[in-house]
């Protein structure tokens, strides 16, 4: 019995060194050399010429944050909250205390029979309708249901196309141009099999800001 306890102790100590220390450090070394971008959160900087239009940047907010604005514009895999009707909206997020809180991913965990869920969805549908009264289509389900992580970066193609009319009107861009923008941002199933066709909302909105700027430059001032 004591012999077994002694062997157990030594074995556990050795396995701790091998699987608890050597293994994670070895994987980290290979990951940092082989795939530095993915290993560090797939962060990206703001693309050139994609400075957001002044109408959609609140200068006061930048001053209220004591630090320098961060170098990164976002992570490829982590969604951001959007509520301005002139942006494409992502999925509702159940994280607290703020939507898309990176440090506290969470789903709503509401059951399909929970009246709170039905009420929440009804409110979201009403909000979409209110911002876009002319659009009478049914609302794509992923646009009004909370994601599992609360950080879902994507919406379905249907959910993006649903919002084109609203965004086009507020941005004064041709719906046709915006449709093309959405289609150029589609991520299709990997080799046609894995996953669903989807749009990365943050990337789409960054491209939308760039497009807005491009279009506004093309407008010829009216002759006096």
């Amino acid at each position: 019995m004591l012999q077994i306890l002694r062997t157990s102790t030594i074995m556990l100590a050795l396995f701790t060194v091998i699987t608890g220390v050597a293994y994670p450090f070895a994987v980290t070394a290979v990951a940092q050399i082989g795939f530095p971008k993915g290993a560090n959160g797939s962060l990206f900087e703001k693309p050139r010429g994609a400075a957001s239009s002044p109408a959609h940047t609140n200068a006061r907010d930048w001053r209220s944050a004591s630090n320098q604005p961060p170098q990164w514009a976002g992570s490829e895999f982590i969604g951001q909250p959007f509520s301005d009707p002139a942006y494409f909206w992502g999925r509702p997020s159940a994280t607290a205390p703020v939507a898309y809180n990176g440090m506290g991913g969470s789903g709503s965990n509401q059951a399909p029979t929970n009246p709170a869920l039905v009420d929440a969805v009804r409110d979201r549908v009403a909000k979409l309708r209110q911002e876009d009264p002319e659009n009478l289509a049914k609302v794509p389900v992923d646009l009004v249901t909370a994601s599992a992580s609360g950080l879902d970066p994507h919406i379905s193609e249907a959910a993006a196309l649903y919002q084109v009319g609203r965004v086009a009107r507020l941005r004064k861009i041709e719906p046709y141009t915006l449709n093309k923008l959405v289609l150029s941002h589609l991520e299709r199933p990997t080799i046609g099999i894995f996953g669903q066709t989807r749009v990365n909302v943050l990337k789409l909105n960054l491209a939308l800001d760039a497009k807005t700027e491009e279009v506004s430059k093309l407008v010829i001032p009216a002759p006096q």
């Binding site: 556990l12 608890g20 293994y23 940092q32 962060l43 976002g74």
Partner: protein, 582 residues
């Protein structure tokens, strides 16, 4: 359900079954001590381990010694993980300066990881330091999986050896499972996951700018977002391969940095079942008749596939209450559709249902969608999968030794029907084996139903419920089914971190893991002592479709008779409420 989802599920089975033979063959060589290709790299480490710990690798153990070694080693694991949590404030690698974990939560977590359950009552990143995660939890991920595999191999030795008192050496089985199987597979898999965008770093979290600033619950302006980082990929690889299931982040494999792309999702789902499926071939190889292994795998699939179909269908149909309020849940080329509450767009409803079925068939318990938000029937499938005793794939090793017990039960009942002495693989099944097998089969339902009865009859038990109506009962039943079968998944809204549930569920996990391991090893010891009985005209062949149906039927019968009344009170009523016209 769109075409890509169908193809994804089809391909899942093709690849899974395709990998069974090569990996199963490799593992058989590892356990038989034959050259397996990695000997030159790993052999020296293995021998060093034995030398330092004073293990003689050729020393054989009786079943009692084997059981004592298993229990002492696992018990020590519980104590160490408990102490690490209680003392993490004095230990290094604690950048967030997290304090000691409360005693009840520390007990629950220690038991949870040592027993290969990985029930997570703690809230991920905000409770445990990096030190505790790596040196406590990751280590248990490996050795708890290796323990399950070791017990399976001991049972196989019991079936194949003749007239001997010994069933192998626990230390050797533990070491070889870890070093030759779990560690190399995890290493390769972790690197593949990083290539898909799963994070692996020791740097602190990163700050990014929000494109549109927002306000928090108190009305304060928020302009930045914190991206959580950490050594996630290395833990996720073993969490899936070792059927552990404990996530690096709170929302487990739904988190975009823990499961970043549809491909990473597919591979993780595959990894959940991979070793458990391949062990069937290892079993057949080691007992000298691979058909025996294929038959057990077929029995698993006979149950798994229909359950999967029901779950995918239920989730793809969606929530009728949302259709009433102008929501489009149809599946078409532009959207996955279905019940998307608690699901991620990159996976869609079908791949989420595939995962839910796989993670509860195996005793994995990781999630890529929130089971609490599943439709009633979609949520019934994962719950019932656990209640079947985690023998449809099940935990690595533990699932197959559980199914072998059901096979023994099947030959026994078939033997009664035709009036002959039952035999399995040339070993007579007698009253001692049947008593032990009954323990293995009856203890988990007793824990699940008894625990649920206690919880629903006490105020502290009902206080953790967060959804109204029959779904609230389902939350409690799901928690007990998960802990009582060492799965670890949850209806996530359930408030599990209370002293009452930490103790109740901790006890459930302990009982259902170790009170099964001991009778299984007892059967192994008893079978090893017996002589080989050559098959006669009256022997029931155990590789035929008839036998496959018998075994699957036995699992379903026990599962249905035991749990249908409880399921009727939860998901079945909820389903009727949801579909009733109002």
């Amino acid at each position: 359900m769109n075409t890509s989802a169908w193809m994804e599920i089809g391909l899942f089975f093709v690849i899974l079954i395709g990998l069974v033979k090569p990996l199963g063959w490799y593992m058989a060589r590892v356990y038989a001590g034959q050259p397996c290709g990695l000997d030159r790299a790993i052999g020296p480490v293995e021998r060093l381990l034995y030398r330092v710990s004073g293990v003689r690798s050729d020393e054989e153990m009786t079943w009692t010694t084997y059981a004592v070694a298993t229990l002492v080693f696992n018990g020590l694991g519980v104590v160490v993980v408990y102490l690490l949590q209680r003392g993490q404030q004095w230990l290094p690698m604690n950048p967030q300066q997290l304090g000691a974990v409360a005693p009840d939560l520390a007990f629950n977590t220690a038991v949870s990881f040592a027993s290969n359950t990985n029930w997570q009552a703690y809230s991920g990143e905000s409770t445990l330091s990096y030190f505790t995660q790596m040196l406590g939890l990751t280590v248990q991920n490996f050795v708890s999986a290796a323990t399950g595999m070791a017990v399976l191999i001991a049972l196989i030795r019991g079936l194949t050896r003749r007239s001997t008192g010994t069933i192998g050496n626990f230390w050797v089985d533990l070491t070889r499972s870890t070093l030759y199987i779990l560690l190399p597979l995890s290493f390769v898999f972790a690197v593949v996951l990083v290539s898909q965008g799963v994070v692996q770093t020791f740097s602190p979290s990163a700050e990014v700018a929000l494109l549109e600033s927002t306000t928090d619950a108190e009305g304060k302006s928020v302009t930045t977002q914190t991206i959580p980082l950490g050594p996630a990929a290395s833990q996720i690889a073993i969490k899936q391969l070792g059927t552990n299931g404990g996530g690096f982040f709170g929302v487990n494999s739904a988190h975009p940095l823990e499961n970043s792309t549809p491909l990473s999702n597919f591979l993780q789902a595959l990894a959940i079942l991979l070793i458990a499926a391949a062990l069937c071939y290892t079993f057949g190889d080691l007992v000298g008749d691979v058909r025996q292994g294929w038959a057990l795998l077929a029995a698993m699939l006979v149950i798994f596939v229909p359950m999967l179909v029901v779950c995918v269908w239920a989730e793809q149909v969606g929530n009728p209450r949302l259709t009433e309020i102008d929501v489009d849940q149809t599946s078409n080329p532009f959207q996955s559709g279905g019940n998307m509450e608690g699901k991620e767009v990159r996976f869609g409803a079908a791949a989420s249902a595939l995962w839910a079925t796989a993670t509860t068939a195996a005793s994995n318990g990781s999630v890529n969608s929130m089971h609490d938000s599943f439709t009633p029937l979609g949520g019934l499938i994962p719950m019932w999968m656990m209640q079947l005793g985690e023998v449809i794939f099940g935990g690595v090793g533990s699932g197959l030794y559980g199914l072998v017990i059901f096979a023994i039960l099947a030959v026994f009942i078939a033997g009664l029907m035709v009036g002959r002495t039952p035999e399995y693989l040339g070993k007579k099944i007698e009253s001692y084996e049947m008593k032990m097998a009954s323990l293995v089969i009856l203890i988990p339902p007793m824990v699940v139903l008894g625990g649920t009865a206690i919880a629903v009859s006490l105020d502290v038990g009902r206080a953790s419920v967060t959804n109204p109506g029959p779904h609230g009962f389902s939350q409690i039943l799901y928690a007990l089914s998960s802990a009582g079968n060492n799965n670890g998944s949850a209806f996530g809204g359930f408030g599990a971190n209370t002293p009452f549930y930490n103790c109740l569920l901790g006890a459930a996990m302990l009982i259902s893991r170790y009170w099964l391991i001991v009778p299984v090893l007892a059967i192994a010891g008893s079978l090893a002592k017996k002589k080989y009985t050559p098959p006669s005209a009256g022997t029931l062949p155990t590789h035929t479709p008839l036998f496959i149906v018998l075994v699957a039927g036995m699992v379903l019968l026990v599962g249905a008779l035991t749990f249908v009344p409880a399921l009727a009170l939860g998901p079945v009523i909820e389903h009727l409420q949801l579909t009733a016209t109002r």
